[in-house]
Every structure is written in C-alpha cells, then in structure tokens.
Amino acid sequence: MSAILKKFKRSKNANSIWRQPLAVVGISIIAIWTFLAIFAPWIAPYDPNAQDADKFLTPSAAHWMGTDELNRDIWSRIIYGARISLPYSLLLVVLSATLGSIIGAISGYAGGKVDAVIMRITDVFFAFPGIVLAMAVAAALGPQIRNAVIAITIVAWPIYARLVRGLILNAKQNDYVTASALLGSSALRTMVVDLRPNLSGPVFVLASLEVGNALLLLSGLSFLGLGAQPPAAEWGSMVSMGAVNFDRWWVGLFPGLAILTAVLAFNFIGDSLRDALDPRTAKALRD
C-alpha cells in the first residue's frame, strides 16, 4: 500500500491524483478533521462531557454551535467525535477489505463448488439492505461500539470478496500463472507472489470508496443506539439527540454536517483514486 502511495508522489503526469481538484478538496477536509482529532484537547474550547453550560443554548460566541440537552458544548463534542468516527471507519475498511479479499481469493482460485458456495453466501448478503443486516447483528451482539464494528464488517466484506474473486478469475487465465506452476510454485505461492500484485490497486480503490459508507453505517448504528454508547461523543448519536429535539435545529445539524463533510471527502478521494489507479482508465489517458 505504501508503494502505491509512493507512486502517486512520484508521478507528475496528467492523471496524478494531485492534479484533481476534488481529490485536493477531499484530502484537505480529511486533513483538517485528522488535525482536529489528534489535537482535540488543545483545540476544543470545553471538555466534551462537561455539563457546565445551560441546556439548549443557541450558537453564540461562547458556544459556536450551541449546547445540547445535557448542557454540553456541541463544537467540542464534534471535535472529540472525530476521534471515534475517523479511526473506526478506517479500521472497519481494513477489517472488511482483509476478510473479503481472503475469502474472494479462495473462492476465485479454488473455483468449482467452493466458489459456488461462497458466491451464493455473498448473494444472500447482497439481498439485504446493509443497515438492516448490521442492525440485526449489532442488536443480537448487544449495543457496544466493538459489536457495531463486528456487525459492519460482516455486512461489508462481500463486496471485496466479489471484486477479488473476479480479479483472480481473470488473472489466473494468464500464461504467467501456468508458467509459475510449471516451475514448481504451489497454488498458494502463486496466489501470494503472482496474483496479489494484481489485487492491491483495485482493492485499495474500493476500500477508499467504502470509507464513507463505513462511516455512515457506524453513525447510523450509533443514531439507533446500537453503536457508541453515551456519554461518548459520536456524531451519529449526536444527530440522534438532535432528532429528538427537532425544534432546536443546531443540536442535530452540526454533527450531521460533520458526517456529511467527512463522507463527501472520503468519496472525493476514492473517486479520484479510482481515476488515477484504474489501469484501464489510466492507460487510456497515457496512450
């Protein structure tokens, strides 16, 4: 993965990611959120859980985004919320991409009945709306952020499995795979040595497009009370408090905007990465 990033930094050609305005916007937004998350204790004007103010204060110079039902400063909570939403969405993507890639690789390489069974299982997962399935799993495991992560991973892996299976099916037709077998490589070695380099690019692109989804699912579960538990400052659960107090517009609006900007930024980056990395598109631009 670091090799891929290095390649971007070196390439100054037309389809370099740094030439794409949307990518720059996305990267900037994520950089800001990351900065806020890391330096939250110094940036946040108040303790996110301190109940010092009055409840439902409208936005003002003292409380930029007002206060919530429990007298807490919303801007401070949003800054601390970035400490949950960003790392957990990245963790989710890493987990589901790893799990899905391994299952997909087995499916594609083994073929036959193994492949058929695994693909029917992914069909079942695709037949459910993701949030519904994640709710069911999270509810069954109990409301906890760790269980929400497990639930979302379970929902999210099939898309990677499908992608990797297709890539492997395609790549294993190549003569170089046969040549490698003729030289004495076992199937496992061929997968790791010969086929893995074909996967990292597309999987990385898909993963970057999925970070936004993961963040949405996580916020969604928290909104429903199945993710982060109070008093943790989590954007999804803050929106949920806003939904209860619908007439106090600032309670739900600002955390909602936080989710919006982060998801949008991740999608901008994913889209631009796809344009930059997709071998076909990239090749078409070069030739």
Partner: protein, 323 residues
C-alpha cells in the same frame, strides 16, 4: 542421442457444452536430447493442445506421456514434482506470459527460489540467464512493459532455463513477433538447444522457420500425426498427400516453380471427424478404402513414419504428386 520424451497413443478431449471434441486423437511421437522437433499443421489441428498435454496442463484421456523415464501427470495445486520441472514450456503470447506487475529478475528467479535457492543467489543467477538470452544484466530490475515483444519472449525463455530443462515445449514462440525478432529468437533457441543438449518441440505454422531450425518435423492433421521425418525427407520428398499440399502452399519468391495448391474443401469439424483416413475428403489421391480404413503410422525404409495407404511399410517412399 537419448530419448527424452515418448508419447504413446495420446488423445486429448475437450468438453464443449456436453459434446466431446477430440482435439488430439492418438499421437505417437518421440523427442531426443539435442534435437528440435518441428510440429506443424493448420490452425485448429491440435498442435497447441498436444503441447499443453505434454507438459501436463491438460491430461490425456488415453495413452501416456513419458518424460525421462516417468509418466507425466496433470499439474495440480501442489508443487510440481522436481523431476518434471526439467520439462518446461515457452508460450506464444509474450505479453500474457510475463506478470506485468513484477520485476523480471524476480520472475526468472522464481523457479530457482522454489527449488530452494536463496533469493540473493537466485537473482544473481537470473542475471546470468538474462545475459545468456542476450539481454543486459541490469534488466533484472525492470518491468515487462519496458521491453519489446522479442525481448519479452527471451525473458520467458530465460525463465524456463532457470529450471535447467532437459526438454522445452515451445508453443508458437515466435508467431507473435515481428520478422527481425523472429529470427533472433529462433537463433537463440537453436543455440540453447545445442548448448544445453535439451530436446525441443517447436510448435509452429510457419513452415519456413521450421525448415530452417528443425532436425525432424512432425506434420499434424485434425488431431493425428500424418508424417514424421527429417527436414530433408519432409521437404524434398513428402510421402503423404497432406504434407505435399502443405509444403507446396509455401509461397516462393520467384513465383514460378511452385504455385500454392489449394486443397478442396475446409478442415473438417473435429466434433465429427471423417470416417477412415481423416484426410480423405480433401485428398486428391483418395481411394475407396480410405473412407473406411484408418491408416496406421508405418515406418518406411528411409526411417520416416507416415500414415497413408499409398506407402508400404519397409519400402522406399512412393513420390506423391498432386493433380
């Protein structure tokens, strides 16, 4: 001269939507160390299928393939037995046969690493092999897209050489190259066969190249070998009507002595091959018995094998003239 490869009655079938297609229908063939055996025939006659069966990519439904004393088994997901790593293949497509995302040094070194050599030593050996095929030593660090088709084919050959092969199946190794690279790669193959005393099956439809580099030639038609002989025998005095037609189909620059002779009709569908001699519907010299009796390969007095009723085992070949 040592016999390195022996095929007895090898048949390979494909399954096409439930119907069996017998692409190779009973082939007997031998290959000796230090010789190049040209395998020629029209597209679709089963040359490549036979090549794939020899190395074990496809498994024959009947017959057996013996490489250096051991019967070839189909490639599995496990490691290929060490004995058979000396039986290598060079593929036609110089683009698909190298992994575009790996440095070529590592691709060549792979065979050595699998055999237990350290990575460092294997990479050094890969440099030697690159030199052997006429590429600079520093090419190890480059990727396949930095090379031309001819250079890639040499890299593929270097990769096969890493397994120190005693036999190589070259499946149309120069068909996809431009003319100047064709000559270079063909010369390289000839030199390597001499240097390492390996046997090579050179599958091609380019008769003039086969004539230049082969010691012996096997002519294939619709899944069967119709004639096997030395280059001289095949070219100067073909003893099978199909060989005669094939040889006379080579265009000559002077345009006078040989005019391409078209055979009547098309290659029959291998799903339902003709009865008797497979060539009889197109053969200008066919007799009544050809439609019912399938001729066996017979050895003639000059040492060649041919499957045609016009020839008698043990006698000198009868000269074949068409029309």
């Amino acid at each position: 001269m040592k016999e390195i490869l022996n095929l007895k009655n090898v048949a390979v079938e494909y399954d096409r939507h439930g119907r069996k297609v017998r692409a190779v229908a009973g082939v007997d063939l031998t290959l000796n160390s230090g010789e190049i055996l040209g395998l020629v025939g029209e597209s679709g006659c089963g040359k490549s299928t036979l090549g794939k069966a020899i190395v074990g990519i496809l498994s024959p439904i009947t017959g057996e393939i013996v490489f250096d004393g051991q019967k070839v088994k189909k490639l599995t997901r496990g490691k290929r037995p060490e004995h058979f790593r000396n039986l290598q293949m060079v593929f036609q497509d110089p683009y698909g046969s190298l992994n575009p995302r790996r440095k070529i040094g590592m691709q060549i070194a792979d065979g050595l690493i699998v055999a237990g050599m350290s990575k460092k030593l294997a990479l050094l050996k890969a440099e030697d092999l690159l030199e052997k095929v006429g590429l600079p030593r520093n090419a190890v660090g480059r990727f396949p897209h930095q090379f031309s088709g001819g250079q890639r084919q040499r890299i593929s050959i270097a990769r096969a050489l890493a397994a120190s092969p005693t036999a190589i199946i070259a499946d149309e190794p120069i068909s996809a190259l431009d003319t100047s690279s064709q000559a270079q790669v063909a010369n390289l193959l000839v030199n390597l066969v001499d240097e390492f005393d390996m046997g090579m099956v050179f599958i091609s439809h380019d008769l003039s190249i086969v004539r230049r580099i082969s010691d012996r030639v096997a002519v294939m038609y619709l899944g069967k070998i119709v004639e096997v002989g030395t280059v001289d025998q095949i070219w100067n005095n073909p003893s099978h009507p199909y060989t005669r037609a094939l040889i006379s189909a080579i265009p000559h620059a002077d345009g006078t002595s040989f005019m391409p002779k078209d055979l009547p009709g098309d290659v029959p569908n291998p799903m339902s091959p003709p009865s008797g001699c497979r060539f009889h519907p197109r053969c200008p010299l066919a007799k009544a018995e050809c439609a019912s009796n399938e001729p066996e390969l017979r050895k003639l007095a000059d040492g060649r094998d041919v499957s045609c009723v016009l020839q008698t085992a043990g006698s000198q070949p009868v000269t074949i003239t068409l029309n």
